[in-house]
């Protein structure tokens, strides 16, 4: 085995160990809160594990929650690798859901055509929603973080109106659409669970995105733009064009997640809150996975289990499900801290006989933390 392979393996092991450490620390802190709350940690843990993994129903719910989280995390990775930080996933999920609901409710077709069409419409919706921000960035220089964040607010309001007015189900006071026809829904995979056939998107999307980024010319160009936009320009690659495309596909993945939430939900209708925080949690999943498509699977499993187990924990041992939010928040902070620390120590080690330290003095350069890989 060459030194190179060895050092790469060492790096990989280190990465995984670090993320596991982060998870353990976050859970340990959560247990402290549970203890303060007056519940014995042992009971809480067993309630949580049962809620997340025990029995077809709980396991099915956990797996089904993984799907949109995975898709959004992959969307973040595509944009981020291209140097774009878009945070419009909630808005893109909503747009995707709305597009899907239109196709589901306004067209009637056999299932083999209706479902794929509804799903594609969702992707298109998410992609278009992201494209608006990408266009503003490419043509007008509008910071994509701000524009996507603001579009989220707009889309949330539009959804409110959508399910109360034009698409409201008149038979209920609840803000939701009429029941979507079965021909537009993902069939259930496991009876009496929430697990639908959209679960196959999970491995497929991970493989496709990993392949596109690593092995295709387009993925290569995306990574060049993300690594160094000026080098990309020197090489005849347009960072604005590639960045716009990356944002479109990033949004399309969020739209696909939106389609899953609507077409494979617990109820066959689109409600006011169907997004359910998946948009931002998906970013956290990508960060925990350290922007690796493969790492998304365990990270999404963890977040899905937290959500599902947390719900059950609330019901059985009466612990507020807000606690799950605390754990997720802690994890995000710890991941960011750990990643930054790792980056800094690696830099320090590499500094050695550099020639760049000559000019200008470090005090005059900006903080370089922004460039955390």
């Amino acid at each position: 085995m060459s030194d190179l392979t060895k050092s790469k393996i060492r790096q990989g092991v280190l990465d995984v160990a670090l993320m596991l450490l982060v998870v353990v620390i976050a859970l340990a802190i959560a247990l402290v809160f549970i203890a303060i709350y007056g519940v014995s940690p042992g009971r809480a843990i067993s309630a949580f594990l049962q809620g997340a993994f025990s029995g077809n129903f709980n396991l099915g719910s956990t797996l089904s929650k993984m799907v949109p989280l995975t898709l959004v995390a992959l969307g973040w990775i595509v944009a981020f690798r291209g140097g774009r930080i878009q945070v419009g996933f909630p808005g893109q999920i909503i747009t995707g859901g709305i597009f899907s609901s239109i196709v589901a409710l306004k067209i009637s077709l056999p299932i083999w055509l209706h479902l794929p069409l509804a799903v594609l419409a969702g992707m298109l919706g998410g992609g278009l929603c992201a494209w608006v921000a990408a266009w503003l960035w490419a043509k007008r220089g509008v910071n994509e973080i701000l524009s996507t964040l603001l579009i989220n607010l707009v889309m949330a309001q539009i959804l409110d109106w959508w399910v109360q007015s034009p698409f409201h189900d008149p038979s209920t006071p609840l803000p939701q659409t009429r029941a979507l026809p079965t021909s537009s829904l993902y069939p259930v995979l496991l009876t009496n669970t929430d697990l639908h056939w959209d679960i196959i998107l999970l491995p497929v999307a991970v493989i496709v995105i990993a392949f596109v980024l690593a092995r295709t010319v387009w993925g290569f160009k995306v990574r060049v733009c993300g690594a160094n936009a000026l080098v990309a320009r020197h090489s005849g690659i347009s960072p604005t064009r590639i960045g716009t495309q990356a944002m479109f596909w990033s949004g399309a993945l969020a739209g696909l997640a939106g389609a899953s939430l609507v077409l494979a939900g617990t109820t066959p209708a689109m409600g006011e809150v169907f997004e359910g925080g998946v948009g931002f949690n998906g970013i956290a999943v990508a960060l925990l996975a350290r922007n690796s498509p493969w790492g998304v699977i365990p990270a999404a499993l963890l977040f899905a289990a937290l959500a599902q187990g947390g719900q059950v924990m609330q019901a059985t041992v009466n612990i507020s499900s807000e606690l799950v939010g605390i754990i997720q928040g802690l994890m995000i902070m710890l991941v960011l801290a750990a990643t930054t620390m790792l980056y800094l120590t690696q830099r320090r080690r590499r500094k050695g006989p550099g020639e760049r330290e000559l000019v200008p003095p470090p005090e005059l350069r900006g903080a370089e933390l922004g460039a955390t890989p």
């Binding site: 060459s2 190179l4 092995r215 387009w218 060049v224 690594a227 080098v231 090489s235 330290e357 000019v359």
Partner: protein, 517 residues
């Protein structure tokens, strides 16, 4: 408070005759280079001292040491006769030392008064903005500096921003002012105002160190001038007893160390023809009516001090920046509407000035960096998919041919040393058998070994029939490699010389912006 300090120091200095600032035996080494080599210099109260030297002569390092941005390896600093230790800019300020950097350190969205109030003053805590404004008005009146405290800095012209920088120092009670190449961005009128103002400050007893590489700025402004070369003091002269020619010779006039044999090739067809190239940006002319031709089998050099339009010229030649006027032909074809892709397709190769910012994607692997510019070619991709085997073989060959010391083609470019990173760029650019090579500061920051490697590869490209354009701030490099070269100053080509007819004094004068010696 400002007045107090100044008054105190003045009487102190006049009484004792002690210099306001004295540097003794300052030495500072960086890996591979001695930036400051036993430098001793002093500036008296009420004196303006010029500090002259080429790029890399050690001026900036020396002043960074005085300002507490870097620590010297050895040597001492005396302020008004007392030895002091300056470890941070804050301590420098406490000793009455102020520095105007080449690049202004102002917040564009704030007013003048707010910017001044931001600066760490000798009295920590909150300063009232109205008081700052009142004091600013007083200072501007006393020195005849036109500064409106309410103006937003971002809307001021460059000359006015510089006045803000200086007034910031005065407000902080600086009595020893260091100005690092302050004229780079100024119009002649602004420069005249600045020089008058500097003189009036010196007349009040303040000491000024004026860093420059432009000879004509020294005359009529400074009292004495210290010349640095290769990190050491060449000499200190009274400006009245010297001439531009003498100073130029001191600045560059070493025996030129020819670092390589220059092969002589009969030049072939013109590969790069530039006619009346002009680049303007934001109302300033950065490159003005530059014309030259580089032929196949020839290395054409562009000498000059950095910041005289070289970056803009190179950006235009590789298609990153549009020409304002003029024309550009590569390989006999008009390419005035160049973009980087067309440049590469026309057989162009570029070794950019900054390998980290422009040359490499540091987080990508060597393999990926090596195929950057040819990823669409059938050798490295087919139907949108990367051909990793083809790219891998290519990378392995290049690692061997260019002697790149790396564990393998799949390590990140970031992990390599500077010399090996530069070799990766050379490998990518020169292995394409380019017709035109643009090399901008190709040996910046490299050690001797890597430097020689670069020289050899450039000569090989020339022997293989490429036209090579070499832009460098190092005169030795230009003289060692170029068959002919031009001297660039103030965005213009002042003269085109052959290597044989270049004597250091003349070139030094040209680099200092003196048109015809």
């Amino acid at each position: 408070m400002v007045t107090e300090i100044r008054g105190g120091s003045e009487s102190h200095n006049e009484a004792s005759g002690v210099p306001a600032l004295r540097l003794e035996d300052i030495t500072k080494a960086f890996p591979g280079v001695r930036a400051n080599d036993h430098i001793t210099l002093e500036v008296g109260a009420g004196e303006i001292l010029g500090l002259l030297g080429e790029n890399g002569a050690g001026k900036s390092t020396l002043m960074n040491i005085v300002y507490g941005l870097q620590e010297p390896d050895s040597g001492s600093i005396f302020v008004r006769g007392e030895e002091v230790s300056i470890k941070t800019p804050h301590q420098a300020v406490a000793h009455g030392i102020g520095m105007v950097h080449q690049h202004f350190m102002l917040v564009p969205d704030m007013t003048v008064a707010e910017n001044v109030a931001l600066a760490p003053s000798l009295t920590p805590g909150l300063s009232r903005l109205s008081e700052v404004e009142r004091e600013l008005r007083e200072l501007s009146k006393r020195f005849g500096l036109q500064v409106d405290p309410h103006a937003t800095v971002g809307e001021l012209p460059l000359g006015a921003r510089q006045r803000v920088e200086i007034i910031k120092l005065l407000y902080r009670g600086a009595e020893i002012l260091i100005l690092d190449e302050p004229t780079a961005a100024l119009t002649p009128e602004e420069w005249r105002e600045l020089s008058l103002f500097l003189r009036s400050m010196a007349d009040e007893g303040r000491s000024i160190i004026f860093i420059t590489h432009k000879l004509d700025e020294l005359f009529g402004l400074v009292d004495r001038c210290t010349v640095l070369r290769d990190g050491a003091v060449v000499g200190t002269v009274d400006i009245e007893n010297t001439s531009k020619a003498a100073l130029a010779k001191m600045m560059v006039g070493r025996e030129v160390a020819l670092r390589t044999e220059r092969p002589i090739v009969e030049p072939g067809a013109p590969m790069l023809e530039v006619r009346d190239l002009t680049i303007e940006d934001g109302g300033r002319t950065l490159v003005s009516n530059v014309s030259f031709t580089v032929r196949a089998g020839e290395i054409f050099g562009v000498a000059g001090v950095g910041g005289n339009g070289q970056n803009e010229l190179v950006d235009a030649l590789v298609g990153l920046r549009p020409l304002t006027s003029g024309s550009l032909r590569i390989g006999g074809q008009d390419r005035s509407d160049l973009d980087p892709k067309k440049f590469t397709q026309a057989g162009g190769a570029v070794i950019p000035e900054d390998r980290h910012d422009e040359g490499l994607a540091l987080d990508l692997t060597l393999l990926e960096n090596l195929i950057l510019k040819e990823v669409d070619s059938p050798a490295y991709s087919r139907r949108g998919l990367l051909n990793l085997r083809g790219a891998g073989d290519h990378a392995k060959t290049l690692l061997r041919e260019y002697d790149i010391r790396a564990p393998g083609p799949s390590v990140a470019a970031r992990t390599l040393s500077g010399g090996n990173q530069q070799k990766v760029i050379l490998a990518r650019e020169l292995s394409r058998n380019p017709k035109l090579v643009i090399a901008f500061q190709p040996t910046r920051g490299l050690d001797i070994g890597a430097m020689e490697f670069v020289y050899r590869k450039l000569n090989e490209a020339k022997l293989a029939g490429a036209a090579v354009l070499l832009i460098s701030f190092e005169l030795d490099e230009i003289l060692s490699l170029s068959d002919r070269f031009a001297v660039m100053a103030g965005g213009r080509f002042l003269a085109t010389l052959s290597a044989e007819e270049a004597d250091p004094e003349r070139v030094g004068l040209l680099m200092g912006g003196e048109e015809q010696p």
